[in-house]
Symmetry: C2
Subunit: 410 residues, 2 copies
């Protein structure tokens, strides 16, 4: 059983993997109404300004600002009421000097007017006349043409994950279809002579397949489509054949191998047989998940995950999710959402190694308490009991109770 | 135009809304493989222990621990190799005193053995004999029956949003179908004489419908199904008729009204006409979004959102998302993921009011800088340009540049 000769830190391992992947995004056109969560394949440029006409931001009276100068409670300006701007229509008259027009929020400013006096700052004394109790500057309470977006401006860069705000913005511009990155297909192979499908009652010494399904869910959450290739015996030929098929049919392949050293070597052999450059990283300086294998074959990522369910999920979040994001063209380096918490107890760690500890978050008087969920990395429910993961950086030999930490939610 | 008589703080407003909603969850049975992101409708109890048999956590030799006591590098224990445990099968022999069996990670411990010596701490000197270089305690390197989950234990409480870890855990237990909360249907009505559908080219004074689509995306993200009822004119009868239909067909109704005071009153009238108790909250002490209307009719939430796109989305995240979560039976009070950042500049705020400011996150040497995106709340792209929202609590009169803040991602 060969030992790991060089254990790379996780960030370096990821960089080595991504550097060897071609940067290309496969676009598809979809309805914008279905596009929330998808990633833009191209930059979106606005053909028109927003708003396209000057709009009132308040309920009040459209005026010529100059007509209101000097007006106040004791010395109002008196303006002639010329009518009302209907919503959704262009005014069919212009505001003349000493004139004003009733306007609603969102209404189109008529010709001649350049500001709006809020209704709260007016009084209607005599019919056909409005008392203006406060002066307005030119442009006050008005949304100018192009104030939201100028014509020709880039409104959404390529590689942006679309949120509700972007969906609204696209609709405002009339962009009802757009090009997004196709969801990458991620082939998932389980191997292990002891593994049976979840719907089967395991015999003595057998266990149900956990990793293929937990991983499928993670791939889906990351924006990919999982394609499961079933459970394969721990024999090189069977594994190689299915992996080769998956490599043709999918955009990346993940093998959740058995957890013994011999099956890990099998995974490495299979990856090396699938194409150049083959295995790039064999062993990562992280716990859990040291026996991780990262490779690239024929321009596609092939990842060998450790067999223990907790290790498999932690490692998948560190390496499979970024591969899916790279295939989507998603820009890297965005903030990972986390929750600040106070560590409940001392945690030891080996210097030089990055540790990920499942923690529960307990609500307390002064914020959250991060309570580590201890358990061997074989225990899938130790993750289900946790709210998030706590990272101990490689330059630390541990964390002290009471320290503030960031818990990455999963 | 009636003024808001009582402006409730957002948390009190939400409590008043949720208190008036019946707490009932509508379950449906689905395949576990499709259940990531869904919410459990019932508590999940394990019928069996996990693991169901004692398993080795390392590659090595299954032994009787007592046979290794005192063993070390200079004085090894010599044990007789009795064979190898095949993966996925029950051992067909027992370990006798001074005997040992080759076992792989995940393998089933044979009768008679109670610990495993790691292969690294052994040496095979003569054929059929293994040198044990380190003593093990009983239970060492062994996963005991029920160590992950005891038979009969609750593994997932009702009201839990399922993540990849839970999906894996359910599969480990052979639970391939389960009851989750049906996605609630949220009826969405747009009103406004000036509003046209996104696919239509707006005429003078007209704007495209932004809110119905941004809101649909938010509802989807929250776990609900948006049902759009189109754009209605600002007339009570038309709005009332569509809202009544939506109230019958959906689990909650959201009306994105025009932004002028008169149309807000219209929404309140319509809500009061739909059933008891009607409007519960008219006006919330928050910016943006003061003219929010919260009501309950015939046991269902009916929410009137402000017309400005930014206000509508901020308010929807404060009130519509919690309603969807309540309908899903999701437990409240979970941590909202955020990113700690240093505020880039001073922000003023009115005491007593809760403010939500869109901010961009800028990566810097010492973490993130939160840079406010200023813009009137009519500007949908001011939200699209932001990474998250910053909350200024009601008891603050502002935040100072350099202060650490939590940015809620959206």
């Amino acid at each position: 059983m060969p030992e790991f000769l060089e254990l790379l830190p996780p960030p370096e391992a990821l960089t080595r993997l991504l550097e060897n992947l071609p940067a290309q995004v496969d676009p598809e056109e979809i309805d914008t109404v279905q596009a929330c969560g998808r990633v833009t394949a191209r930059s979106v440029v606005s053909a028109l300004p927003l708003p396209t006409f000057p709009r009132s931001t308040v309920d009040g009276y459209a005026v010529r600002a100059a007509d209101t100068y000097g007006a106040n409670d004791s010395l109002p300006a008196y303006l002639q009421l010329m009518g009302e701007i209907p919503m959704g229509a262009a005014p069919d008259f212009a505001v003349v000097p000493a004139g004003c027009v009733l306007i609603h929020t969102g209404g189109m400013l008529p010709e001649g007017s350049d500001a709006v006096v809020m209704v709260e700052h007016t009084q209607s004394a005599r019919p056909g006349e409005v008392e203006i109790l406060r002066a307005v500057a030119s442009g006050e309470n008005v949304l100018k043409v192009g104030e939201d977006v100028a014509a020709g401006a880039e409104v959404i860069p390529a590689g942006t994950r679309l949120r509700p705000a972007e969906i609204g913005g696209l609709m405002a511009l009339g962009i009802t279809r757009l090009e997004v990155a196709r969801r990458p297909n991620i082939g998932i192979l389980s191997s292990g002579d002891e593994v049976v499908p979840p719907e089967v009652t395991p015999g003595s010494g057998q266990v149900r397949d956990v990793n293929a399904y937990a991983l499928s869910a993670l791939v889906q959450e990351s924006g990919g489509t999982p394609v499961r290739y079933g459970i394969l015996p721990d024999r090189e030929e069977a594994l190689r054949k299915s992996a080769a098929r998956a490599l043709i049919e999918c955009d990346a392949v993940v093998i959740t191998a058995g957890s013994s050293a011999s099956t890990r070597d099998l995974t490495a052999q299979v990856i090396n047989s699938l194409g150049r450059p083959g295995v790039l990283v064999h062993g990562v300086n992280v716990r859990p998940g040291k026996p991780t294998i990262l490779g690239v074959c024929a321009g596609k990522a092939v990842i060998g995950l450790p067999g223990n369910p907790v290790s498999a999920l932690v490692i998948a979040s560190l390496f499979v999710t970024p591969v899916v994001q790279a295939l989507l063209g998603l820009k890297r380096g965005g903030p990972r959402p986390s929750v600040p918490a106070r560590l409940a107890l001392n945690l030891a760690s080996q210097a030089g190694r990055e540790d990920w500890i499942p923690v529960r978050l307990i609500s307390s008087q002064d914020g959250y308490l991060a309570d580590p969920v201890f358990g061997k990395s074989n225990l899938i429910f130790s993750l289900a009991r946790a709210d998030g993961l706590l990272r101990i950086p490689p330059d630390a030999t541990g964390l002290a109770a009471g320290e503030m930490v960031d818990v990455v939610l999963f």
